[in-house]
């Protein structure tokens, strides 16, 4: 299953410079000095390009090898300018490979894919990989920018205390609907009613077992991560009732279908709905009132990383609020640092789809690694849903 929430292809109706002003790179010298003073040892990139000022080599024992290998989601999930700046500042050659799902990442690493330093697993996958001893325990003294990470990302159940991962960005799962064609919707119950009524045949859902089953769990008042057989039986019945009304189950065509108006209701990630908004202004993103999921993608290092020092330097570099504030113009997903707001394009910072308010955030649950039996039960329901 392909997963496009990370692939921000400007060619397919994405937000572009015309609709959202790009990050303004003129960083004031004063701001620069203040910030570098605050971070102390951490290295900084001066404004307008690649002027290096304080160049600090992290002290993990040896020197940087000059080669950093990143294994990441699709290529639009890391800002080009930021990458170039890192390469120049640390004199590193960076090689990138991409994967399309957490499971691909896990399978490759388990199968012994060697040579990668930095990987980007989603929360529940951090938990799985850490449990299998595949991740490098992070040395926080080499990531001074960790201080900028917001408190809510430091105690997430999949990695309490960020022993193995640092938050990269986060987003939510909810639904998008066309406010010009459909009555106002605020809950998963509204979603279901519309999908089986007014939006029948024009509704799409993500091709993702966790998102779809989790969302219906929330609708019925259960946990997003429920594996209770009785609860899942209720979810199963709702899913089978929903199926005949669906236009498609997709995580690859969702943005297109919303953009060209074929789908007027879509269970999707916030960033994808936002992307389609460029073509369909009346498309509204809703985090349902029953609650929903928030996912966090994370930077992590592989246990057998060839160059963990460079890996730490890279993670620290991207946690720099000045850099992470620029990442958002590439990914359109929320950064995990309040500090980054200072440097961010304000139209993005004030966008409630990217940054929901605290009240909404408190209704969100994180995806967790499920028990083996629970996962199998969900899988059976999912297969039945797809084959129905």
């Amino acid at each position: 299953m392909a997963d496009t929430r990370r692939t921000h292809d400007p060619a397919s109706g994405r937000l572009d410079t015309a609709t959202t002003p790009r990050w303004n790179p003129s960083l004031s010298r004063r701001g620069f000095l203040a910030a570098s003073a605050a971070v102390g040892a951490s290295a900084w990139l001066a404004a307008c390009g690649a002027q290096t000022t304080t160049k600090t080599v992290p002290k993990l024992g040896t020197k940087l090898e000059g080669q950093l290998h990143i294994y990441n989601w699709g290529s639009y999930y890391l800002g080009r300018d930021d990458l170039k700046a890192f390469q120049q500042q640390f004199n590193q050659t960076v090689t990138e490979d991409s994967y399309d799902s957490n499971e691909t990442l896990l399978a490759k690493v388990q199968a012994g894919a060697a040579g990668y330093d930095v990987v980007v697993p989603t929360g529940y996958m951090v938990q799985i990989m850490a449990a299998q001893g595949l991740l490098y325990p992070l040395q926080h003294d080499h990531i001074p920018n960790y201080q900028y990470v917001d408190a809510m990302f430091k105690t997430l159940p999949f990695d309490v205390g960020n022993k193995y991962s640092m938050p990269k960005d986060w987003g939510t799962t909810g639904f998008g609907y066309r406010s010009d064609l459909l009555p106002a919707a605020t809950s998963w119950q509204d979603f279901f009613t519309l999908a089986t009524g007014k939006a029948s045949g024009k509704t799409i859902v993500l091709d993702g077992v966790n998102e779809v089953i989790g969302s219906l769990c929330k609708m019925l008042g259960f946990s997003y991560n429920s594996v209770d057989p009785a609860q899942l039986e209720q979810v199963r019945q709702k899913l089978l009732a929903l199926k005949p009304h669906l236009l498609a189950i997709t995580a690859t065509d969702d943005i297109t279908l919303m953009s060209n108006g074929k789908a007027i209701l879509a269970l999707d990630w916030n960033g994808n709905v936002l992307s389609a908004q460029a073509q369909q202004a009346a498309l509204q993103y809703v985090i349902p009132s029953e609650g929903s999921e928030f996912w966090v993608d994370n930077w992590a290092l592989l246990k057998n990383a060839p160059d963990p020092i460079a890996g730490h330097a890279f993670i620290n570099f991207l946690l720099d609020p000045k850099i992470s504030s620029k990442e958002i113009t590439t990914t359109y997903y929320a950064q995990c640092e309040t500090e980054a707001f200072k440097y961010m394009d304000q139209t993005l910072a004030s966008n409630a789809v990217i940054y929901p308010n605290q009240g909404t955030i408190s209704r969100l649950e994180a995806q967790q690694a499920l028990s083996s039996d629970g996962a199998k039960l969900r899988k059976q329901i999912w297969d039945e849903f797809k084959a129905a």
Partner: protein
């Protein structure tokens, strides 16, 4: 020096090969093929069988070693039997449709096209130069409810309202017919082209009409082409993955999609051992079906009058 040494070395090599018994020489020449199939076909196949008996990790990825029959037990779930049924039905329908459309076309190409033959054959081949994926996506655009076909049909007054075909089994069927038709046409064309025309003339001389000649002479003599064409279409169709995913909107599951999901599915939806068990079952089922099919048509191989 070396130049003079080389021929003798070569000669010695040759004579060494020549001294080998016949089976030895055959083996030597077949070695690359053996190695190739061993490494890239047999070994993965064995690996798949092994995985099918292991236990799922519950979150995708390589399973834990062991011996379990869980995956095969799961196969008996009516849900998966239904997917088997849907796939086989669509594969059969697709094969028959390709035959019904392909035979007249191949017949025309072989007997009536005369000097346009090459051009027409080329027209059938040319689309193959474009990726299968792109051609299937093109159909998504054509069949779209706001697409070309829908607009033309409405303009001509043939349909009222937009065409609602995309993401339905009908769309999958259209995609299959389009993509697999050439696989049917070529073996039929070869069979029809090689057909000894004098036999057809003889049939007519002996008083058989056009229809009787076709049923009693042309069709039986071209049956090997029919058998080959049907196999070429049917076998890959049972594993078809792309067309249901693209034109079916991933909501009309085929065996190929179900297997794919076991390996690529997100989180809980992937299960390697079950996917491997499905794969093994499909291979075994196909072996049985194809052998029955070939057995039924064995006499076809020995039909006399095959020129060429």
């Amino acid at each position: 020096m070396r130049a003079s040494a080389n021929p003798s070395l070569r000669d010695r090599g040759f004579s060494a090969i020549q001294r080998l018994p016949l089976w030895g020489r055959s083996l030597l020449l077949l070695a690359p093929a053996f190695v190739w199939y061993g490494v890239f076909f047999l070994a993965p196949l064995v690996n798949m069988v092994i995985i099918s008996f292991e236990e799922s990790s519950g979150y995708g990825g390589p399973p834990a070693p062991g011996f379990h029959l869980d995956s095969y037990r799961q196969l008996l779930n009516p849900l998966y039997l239904k997917v088997f049924g849907v796939t086989l039905r669509m594969a059969l329908l697709g094969t028959v449709a390709c035959l019904l459309v392909g035979y007249p076309l191949a017949y025309f190409l072989a007997t009536r096209a005369s000097r346009h033959k090459t051009t027409l054959l080329l027209l059938i081949i040319v689309p193959f130069w474009t990726s299968f994926l792109i051609r299937t996506y093109a159909w998504e655009t054509i069949l779209d409810s706001d697409g070309v076909l829908s607009n033309i049909l409405q303009a001509l007054g043939i349909t009222h309202g937009s065409l609602n075909v995309l993401y339905t089994p009908t769309a999958i069927f259209i995609g299959i017919l389009y993509n697999y038709l050439p696989l049917m046409i070529f073996p039929l064309y070869v069979a029809l082209d090689r057909l000894d025309k004098r036999l057809v003339e003889a049939s007519k001389d002996l008083g058989a009409g056009r229809i009787a000649t076709f049923w009693q002479v042309t069709l039986p003599l071209t049956l090997p082409g029919v058998v080959t064409g049907c196999l070429l279409v049917f076998i890959p169709l049972t594993g078809e993955y792309l067309i249901p995913a693209i034109l079916g909107g991933s909501k009309n599951l085929f065996m190929g999609n179900l297997i794919g999901e076991q390996f690529q599915g997100q989180g809980a939806s992937s299960d390697w051992p079950f996917g491997a068990a499905l794969g093994v079952t499909v291979v075994v089922l196909l072996l049985i079906v194809v052998n029955i099919y070939l057995l039924a048509f064995r006499r076809v191989q020995s039909v006399p009058g095959q020129a060429g």
